[in-house]
């Protein structure tokens, strides 16, 4: 075990990632626990830069690089917060939740939870958290594994007597949301350059999925959401329909009359990729 190297690496990491800079990083407890020393005793000066300036190059690039990645992934959040407050939020998020994955694609995975659970004091925190969830889902759907969708004909080929006991496997890109706010409606307006004020809470249900390399957002009724969620969670079609029928305000006859068209829509959108009888 390279014990001295391990201490040095922990020290460097604490110094260059401290949100208040190199001086604060070197004086931090984790850095002192790694190496009880000064920047000048670890890093040599160059002919033109001091030891602190040299390690400061890495520190300066750390937040710039990671914030740049997130900046492009959450445009709606940025529009609501304003640029300065948004960048400050990202700085604090990166400090609180440093990357633990080899891929930068994963960097924003916890931003929605961070806003909801750790930044509840923010104005409109509940809306912001849901908006972050939607924008994160767009990234996830873009990067989700590819899967060939079932055609409508393949769905229709399931024998009628097996239908209730059948499991359908949903697309790996499918993400389903039950929001407290009309998130997708606001996002549609935002994308059209007409973002309104933060809306009042009104329940909404949204699906995000990828079809032929393009990511789509679709609003759902409550009953559609319950049905699709149950299938997504692995329920048989019979159990999923029962769950949808139990949705408040759902007329069983209307559901029975509509459900065939829903499945045709979803098959057309490529939401099912396999039959698991």
């Amino acid at each position: 075990m390279a014990e001295r190297l391990e201490r040095l690496e922990r020290w460097v990491q604490e110094v260059i990632t401290h949100p208040d800079g190199v001086g604060a990083g070197a004086a931090s407890r984790p850095a002192e626990e790694a190496l009880a020393t000064t920047v000048e005793s670890v890093v040599l000066p160059s002919a033109t830069l001091s030891a602190s300036e040299r390690i400061g190059i890495y520190a300066g690039m750390y937040y710039l690089r990671l914030i740049e990645v997130l900046d492009g992934d959450f445009p709606g959040l940025k529009a609501v917060l304003g640029s300065d407050a948004f960048l400050a939020l990202l700085h604090e998020y990166v400090a609180a939740h440093p990357s633990r994955h080899y891929s930068l694609n994963m960097l924003g995975a916890q931003l929605a939870a961070y806003v909801r659970e750790e930044r509840a004091e923010l104005p409109h925190a509940a809306f912001l958290a849901e908006l972050a969830e939607l924008e994160r889902a767009l990234q996830e759907a873009f990067d989700a594994p590819a899967a060939e969708p079932l055609s409508t004909d393949e769905l229709l080929a399931i024998p009628a007597d097996r239908w209730a006991a059948t499991h359908l496997v949903t697309s790996p890109s499918l993400r389903l949301f039950e929001f407290e706010h009309p998130i997708n409606a606001w996002y549609v307006a935002f994308k059209e350059g007409d973002a309104g004020p933060v809306p009042e809470p009104v329940p909404s249900w949204t699906a995000v999925y990828r079809r032929k390399f393009r990511v789509w957002r679709a609003d759902l009724t409550h009953a559609r959401f319950e049905l699709l969620s149950a299938i997504h969670d692995g329920a048989t079609l019979g159990d999923a329909l029962e769950r949808a029928a139990a949705t408040p305000g759902t007329d069983p006859d209307e559901l029975a009359a509509s459900v065939g068209a829903w499945f045709q829509d979803w098959a057309g959108d490529g939401l099912f990729v396999a039959v698991d009888p």
Binding site: L5, I16, Y102, S103, L104, D143
Partner: protein
Amino acid sequence: MATPNRWNLPDLGFGLGLRTDHFGHILEHRPDVDWFEIVSENFMNTGGRPMWVLDQIAERYPIVMHGVSMSIGSTDPIDWEYMRELKALAKRVDAVWMGDHVCWTGVAGRNNHDLLPLPYNEESLAHMVERVRAVQDFLGRPLVLENASTYLTFSETTMPEEEFMARLGEEADCAFLLDVNNIYVSARNHGFDPQKYLEHFPYDRVVQIHLAGHTDHGTHCIDTHIGPVIDAVWELYADVMRRTGGRATLLEWDQDIPSFEVTHAEVLKARQYRTDIVLEPASDG
């Protein structure tokens, strides 16, 4: 006459780093480029369009994998799940070779997404040798490791970088990607003589050369991969060509990325350097 590397890995000619900005151009025009290098991690956690595009390109061009998150110098345990995904991608694109940097990117489970420097001393060398050997055993091929640009020197460093690299190559039996822009950047930042660096490099282990632009802040240089290659770096490249007789050469351009034609024209300048110096045409691989 080109002197071979010890694995007889091919001279692929003149390639470009594959960037999303150029996906459309490459698919539509199928440009006459010798080969492409990918940043491995950009294709390891995605199953969408980037992977589909890479599959198309890998059918027509040789692909080399160059990663940024192996963290081979870290004191954390080796991330074998990452290695499995890396190996699977190499199989999928039939990578001619694969590698990363002589650096670490994080410790205590974190990834700082930067190529962080090591102190060049006996402890670091022994640590690197052990890990490089283990990874090579797993991948079943030599790792092609790049000299990274560095911006600081540790007081614990006891040997120059080129000596560290030479000993690492010898003791771990790994290959090298020699980034001549990084040599220039590090030489400026640390005040060493790049010619002396080149004198001592183990060229029989060099299978690839990197070219790139950088940002000169006066007091120091940053390896930004921006803009064309400066003359001083071309001179280092020419020197390496004299010493090796030619190696697979690749241009990286990652900021303010221009059109495909501009980046391609920049790397083809290398062809002229090589032809002028070696007095024989470059291999087409």
